[in-house]
Amino acid sequence: MSTFEQAYSWINLRFLLEGLWVTLEVSVISIVLSFIIGLVLGVIRYVKIKYLSAAVGFLIDIIRNLPLLLIIFFTYFGLPELGLRMTPMLAAVTALVVFESAMLAEIVRSGIQAVPVGQMEGARSSGLTYVQAMWHIIMPQALQKMIPPLVSQFISLVKDTSLATIIVLPELLYHAQIIYSQNTTYMVPMYLMIAVMYFVVCYCLSLVARRLEKRYG
C-alpha cells in the first residue's frame, strides 16, 4: 500500500490535475466550436441547397469515416509540409473540431429529420417564413431529440483527447506517463487514478444528459 501512498504524493497529484485541466480545456473549447460548426453544417445538409448541401454532405461522410487519430497525425505531422506548423494544443483542438463537427452535423441532420414534416407545413401556413419556422418551431424540437446522442458524442470527445498524447499535448494521460516513466512501480497507481478521473468527468456528463432527457424529453 505504501507504493500507492508514495505515488499519490501531493506533487504527483497536482501534476495529474494539471493534465486533467488541459484535457478539460481542450474538451470544452472543442465541444463549443464543433457544436456551432456542426449545427450549421447539419442545417446546410438538411435544407438541400443546390450543390452546396451535396458537397458538404460528401465532405462530412469522408471525415466521419476516418479515424480521429489519422486526422490528428495529419494536422500535426502532415500540415507542416504545407508550411502550416501548429502547437500541440492548437493541432489537437483543430483535429478534434474537424472530426467532431462532422460527427455532430450528422446527429443534427437526423435530429431535424426526426421532427414530423407537418410541423414545418403548419408553421409555414401560419405565416412564418422558412427561417422563422426553422428557428422557432423545428430547431427546439430537434434539439430535444438530439440531447442523448449529442451528449454521448461529447463524452467520446473527452475520451478522445487522450489520443493527443501522441503529439505531446500535456494532457492527463501524458502527465501520468511522465510520472510512471520515472518510477515504474507507480504504473498501476497512475493508471488507476487517471481511469478514475476520466470516469468521473464522463460519468458526470452522462448524468447531466439523463437529467436533461427527463426534463425536456
Partner: protein, 212 residues
C-alpha cells in the same frame, strides 16, 4: 500519392490485413460479451443487473487508449507479456462490448414487455423466451446501430498504432517517417480506411431508411 502506394505496397497491405483481422476478432468477441451483458441487464435479479451496469459504465467512460495501455504495459508486469496486436485487440473488445451491450439492451427494451409476458404465459422459461422470442426480434432492430458500432470499431482500431500493433495507422506512420512524404502517406492510409468504412456507412443508412 501513387508512387508512395506502389513503393510501399507490401507494408500497406500488411497494415490493411492487420486492421481487418483485429476489427473482425474484436467484433466477434465484443458481440458475444456485449450481448451477454445486455441480457444480464434485463434479468429479474437486481444484484446481477447492478454488476452488469457497473461493467458497462466503466468501459464506456474510460478512454480506449487508457484501457489498451493497461493491457500493453501494466498486465505484462504481473501476468504474461502481450504483443501490441493482442493488447490492442483485447482493449478494443472490452471497450466496444460496453457500447454493444447498451445497443442490444435498447433493442431488447424496444421489443416490449408484452412479448415476454405472452411467451412466459405460454409456458416458456425465461431463458427460452430470451433465446427464441426476444433476441431474434431485438437483433433485427439493432442491426443499423450495431453496424455503426462496427464502423466505430474499425476507426478505433487505429489505437493499435500506439502499441506497435502493425495496423494500417502504424504502418502508415512507419512509411511517413521513412519517406518524409507525410501528407501523401496519410492520404493513402485514409483511402484504405474509407474502403472499409464508407460502404458500410452508406449501407447502414440505407438499412435505417428501409426499417424506418
Amino acid at each position: 500519392m501513387i508512387h508512395i502506394l506502389s513503393e510501399n505496397w507490401q507494408t500497406f497491405l500488411t497494415g490493411f490485413e492487420n486492421t481487418i483481422l483485429c476489427s473482425v476478432i474484436a467484433l466477434f468477441f465484443s458481440l458475444i460479451i456485449g450481448s451477454i451483458f445486455a441480457i444480464l441487464q434485463t434479468v429479474p435479479s437486481k444484484l446481477v443487473r447492478t454488476i452488469a451496469n457497473i461493467y458497462i459504465e466503466i468501459f464506456r467512460n474510460i478512454p480506449l487508449l487508457v484501457i489498451t495501455m493497461v493491457f500493453y504495459v501494466v498486465v505484462p508486469q504481473f501476468f504474461i507479456k502481450l504483443s501490441g496486436f493482442t493488447a490492442g485487440t483485447i482493449g478494443l473488445t472490452l471497450y466496444t462490448s460496453a457500447f454493444i451491450a447498451e445497443t442490444v439492451r435498447a433493442g431488447i427494451k424496444a421489443v416490449g414487455v408484452g412479448q415476454m409476458e405472452g411467451a412466459r404465459a405460454n409456458g416458456l422459461t425465461y431463458w427460452q423466451t430470451m433465446r427464441y422470442i426476444i433476441l431474434p426480434q431485438a437483433f433485427k432492430l439493432v442491426i443499423p446501430p450495431l453496424g455503426n458500432q462496427f464502423i466505430n470499431l474499425i476507426k478505433n482500431s487505429s489505437v493499435l498504432a500506439f502499441v506497435a500493433g502493425f495496423d494500417l495507422m502504424y504502418q502508415g506512420d512507419v512509411i511517413a517517417s521513412a519517406s518524409f512524404e507525410t501528407i501523401n502517406t496519410y492520404l493513402v492510409v485514409g483511402v484504405f480506411y474509407l474502403i472499409l468504412t464508407l460502404p458500410l456507412s452508406y449501407y447502414m443508412r440505407y438499412l435505417e431508411k428501409k426499417l424506418a
